[in-house]
């Protein structure tokens, strides 16, 4: 077993306090007793109830209705329920002072104030005082109620103080990780925070610390994983770790560009943020992939730091990292600086971009065989050329080395020593400070929900179309901020009304529809692929727009002359299976080929021309040829207009649509 936990909590002493050791059943009993006490009078009295100053503060807080204040609701992560009450999103009971704290802001407020008076002598070994465990609440209440700390027990929060001293927070940066090669699913991105310590410069960002919120997964089963993720059966927790750990993971191992958004927070807001992160270390949240996910909780934490920000309330159906970055950038004056941190392969591409063809060929030779370094084409280069080729090659070797499975303790170095030595012997430092951006910042990307309204005509009649998907990006949409020539659709539904036959029909429902056209190049030789699964309309048979269950996968290659080229060509071999009672034998299965062309005219226009041939030898034997041509124009970031023509077997249809993204 790897010391995973140790790695994650690498920072200092265990960063978070372990509070009460009470177990859940005991809590239930306590809750029950509390209920009994409410009905039959107090069974036990808390020691602090006798403290007159505590009671005075409680009365003062109630008079000021602090339990209804936005900051209090934010601090305890309360959300309004359907019934008009409140419920905290925090699910670890250690987060609350009152057994009813999860649903009762007032009870929690009263219990919190009283707990601040807890006698430090009564603490169990390794138990922290509530003033320390709930440091952000303490700070806020102290201010709201002008609490005189002299009248409170003196709790020494030595671990918290040490934690803060070591972090020395000066500013806070939100990090967004972009997509990675050949995986359209990664277009969703991920967000986390970085705490920038005093004295850290642009050169030493790596040694800052990050704050991440992630689910602790406990299953290898795909089905269970999906189920648990959708319905909140994973525990989500906050963790603190060195930023370089995440940079290694995202930038180097997965080669994802990072976008860093420095937030314009005052020192006081940063202090509150830190204290709140400390509080959160003691609890967990049920993790929901679509709603209460990493990006959502980053927003809730930022709201605590600055309650004037209203970030987490406006989400429709799902919270996606791209959208959360957008919300932040829309707040006036909140972002003070945006930095692009190119991934390892983006850095490599920046180098290959500067190479002449002959130099590129040498790089490709090296990728094939390290020994090419001893041979002539390489040896004939001058020193700057050698350095350029080797630096690009070293990026490649590092990326490949990190991806390797297993670890040989006898060979901790994963890059061939001979290449490193050769590079060092050049005694040459390349002066290339320019950065080329290989991805666009997420706030420039179109919205992740898409609604389409269209009108079309086929050989028989006119129809209207309405379509919607909650995620994420279709291959014809404006590509800024997404992986080029890729598609990731989840729950894509298309319905039509046919005017002549006066019928409503489900045109298509895609549970999942992914296309990844990755240009094939000599270094990584990545294939292209696609997969889709759902309900479709059978078009080549006369069955009155009948539906079928259909699954399709494809595997092939994409050609693109270079990364700035406006066009790509692709070809794929496909397998397909379809089931419907309208088909002879209720099914058909087979395969075929597809191929075509995509051209981008700037970022606002895109054209697709493609064709496919399918043959089904199994079940309902049949075959068809299909042609598609599509043209898209985007007058704005979140709107586009499309004109499509399709010839399916002998049947034609045309469609004009307007697509809105939000």
């Amino acid at each position: 077993m790897y010391p995973r936990d140790a790695l994650i909590s690498l920072f200092s002493c265990p960063p978070f306090p372990k509070t009460s050791t009470l177990r859940y059943p005991i809590r239930i009993i306590i809750s029950f007793l509390t209920l009994v006490s409410l009905l039959c009078g107090p069974l036990w009295a808390q020691p602090s109830e006798t403290n007159p100053y505590a009671e005075q503060l409680v009365q003062q807080a109630l008079k000021k209705q602090l339990d209804q204040k936005r900051q209090w609701l934010l601090l305890i992560h309360y959300k309004e329920t359907w019934l008009g009450g409140y419920e905290s999103e925090a699910d670890g009971m250690d987060f609350f002072n009152s057994p009813d704290g999860k649903t009762d802001p007032k009870a929690e407020l009263i219990a919190t104030i009283r707990n601040f008076f807890k006698d430090p002598e009564s603490l169990k070994p390794k138990e922290e005082h509530p003033q320390c465990n709930f440091a952000a609440r303490y700070k806020w209440l102290k201010r709201e109620l002008s609490i005189d700390p002299g009248q409170l027990p003196n709790a020494e929060c030595s671990r918290l103080t040490k934690w803060l001293t070591q972090l020395e927070p000066q500013s806070v940066t939100l990090i967004f990780s972009s997509f990675y090669m050949n995986n359209p699913a990664s277009m969703f991105g991920h967000t986390f925070l970085r705490i920038d310590s005093k004295g850290k410069t642009n050169h030493t960002q790596l040694s800052n610390y990050g704050v991440n919120y992630a689910a602790t997964t406990d299953t290898q089963s795909m089905l269970l994983y999906v189920f648990k993720g959708l319905f909140g059966y994973f525990k989500g927790t906050f963790s603190v770790f060195p930023y370089y750990l995440k940079v290694q993971e995202y930038s180097n191992m997965e080669s994802r560009d990072l976008w860093e958004y420095q937030l314009n927070f005052t020192p006081d807001q940063i202090d509150t943020l830190m204290l709140h992160i400390w509080e959160l270390g003691a609890t967990h949240f049920d993790y929901y992939y679509f709603q209460e996910n990493c990006s959502y909780h980053m927003l809730t934490v930022l709201e605590v730091a600055n309650p004037d920000l209203e970030l987490s309330d406006d989400f429709f159906i799902s919270v996606q990292p791209v959208d959360t970055v957008k919300i932040l950038t829309e707040q006036e004056g909140l972002i003070s600086k945006i930095t692009y941190r190119p991934a390892i392969l983006s850095r490599m591409e920046r180098k290959t971009d500067q190479m002449k063809d002959a130099e590129k060929d040498i790089l490709y030779d090296l990728v094939e065989n390290t020994d090419a370094i001893k041979e002539d084409p390489y040896q004939q280069l001058n020193t700057p050329q050698k350095a350029l080729v080797l630096d690009a090659y070293l990026d490649y070797l590092e990326y490949k080395g990190l991806g390797k499975e297993g670890f040989d303790p006898k060979k901790p170095l994963r890059i061939p020593h001979a290449i490193l030595l050769e590079r060092s012997k050049l005694k040459y430092k390349r002066q290339d400070t320019e950065v080329t951006q290989f991805s666009a910042p997420p706030e420039t990307a179109h919205g992740t929900d898409q609604l389409r309204l269209g009108v079309g005509v086929n050989d028989n009649e006119v129809f209207q179309e309405i379509a919607y998907h909650p995620t994420l990006h279709d291959i014809m949409a404006r590509e800024v901020g997404y992986k080029e020539d890729s598609q990731f659709l989840f729950l894509d539904i298309v319905a039509r009304y046919y005017y002549e036959s006066k019928k409503y029909r489900l045109e298509r429902f895609r549970l999942l529809d992914i296309i990844s056209l990755t240009p094939y190049e000599p270094i990584f030789k990545k294939p292209s692929w696609k997969i889709n699964l759902g309900v479709d309309t059978i078009r080549d048979l006369d069955c009155d727009y009948c539906n079928s269950f259909k699954g399709n996968i494809g595997y092939g290659y994409t050609y693109k002359p270079n990364h700035r080229s406006p066009y790509i060509l692709f070809v794929m071999a496909e397998l397909e299976a379809e089931a419907s009672d309208k088909l002879e034998d209720d099914h058909r299965a087979g395969g075929g080929v597809s191929g075509g062309l995509f051209i981008n005219f700037g970022e606002n226009w895109k054209l697709q021309l493609s064709a496919e041939y399918k043959r089904f030898p199994l079940g309902n034997t049949s075959e068809y040829v299909r042609y598609d041509s599509k043209l898209r124009f985007s007058p704005a970031k979140d709107v586009d207009l499309r004109l499509e023509y399709q010839r399916f077997d002998q049947k034609d249809q045309g469609l004009f649509s307007i697509n809105l993204f939000f």
Binding site: Y2, P3, A6, L10, S12, K162, S177, N183, A185, S186, F188, G189, H190, T191, H203, Q205, L206, S207, M222, Y225, L230, P242, L245, K246, Q248, E249, M253, E254, S318, P321, A387, D391, D395, L397, L402, G403, E405, F407, P412, L413, R414, I415, L420, L421, S424, K427, K429, F488, F490, W529, G551, I553, A577, E578, A579, D581, D585, D586, H587, G619
Partner: protein
């Protein structure tokens, strides 16, 4: 009905097979928190991979584990050393690459952990590059050994031995 079942079976196989095909390429980590991560299921955990690639075996192993707890009472110097060792072992491959090239962000961060002032980062990169063969002898050199040799180079350097105040100790 039977044929319908066969059709469904083929459909299922297609999907199941394609799932494997997608999950195969190397480098699949946390796809983020959107449904993307749902589709691709449990991926190799980033920290686990990092643990696999850093030299946490032998002495550094215990360092990685105890870094979380044992240094609470440790003095500042040994804490700084542990910080450098962890940094070097996790970023080992990035570091050696930058040493060979004579500069880079990881190298700058390491220099700052040695207390070197920013204007000496250039010299720091130069000595790492010029003495690369001594600092990283071969593929079996561990990150800790690399740090040891690097420190010797710094101590022997007229300027760096003065500006990088954290080396001694």
């Amino acid at each position: 009905m039977k044929k319908y079942l066969i059709g469904s079976a083929i459909l299922f196989t297609l999907v199941a097979f394609s799932g494997m095909a997608i999950a195969h390429p190397a480098g699949y980590g946390d796809a983020g928190c959107g449904p993307g991560s749902l589709v691709f299921g449990k991926k190799r955990d980033g920290a686990q991979l990092l643990a696999a690639m850093m030299d946490i075996y032998g002495t550094s192993h215990s360092t990685a584990i105890t870094f979380g707890t044992s240094n609470c009472g440790a003095d500042k110097l040994s804490r700084k050393r542990q910080e450098r060792e962890t940094f070097a072992s996790i970023n080992y491959n990035s570091l050696v690459k930058e040493m060979a090239a004579g500069k880079g962000e990881n190298l700058d961060s390491l220099a700052s952990m040695y207390g070197c002032s920013q204007d000496s980062y250039g010299d720091f990169g130069s000595i790492a590059q010029e003495n690369f063969g001594t600092i990283v002898k071969d593929e079996s050199t561990s990150s800790k050994e690399m740090l040891g040799s690097l420190e010797q180079q710094i101590s022997g350097h007229a300027l760096l031995s003065k500006t990088c105040t954290g080396v001694i100790g």
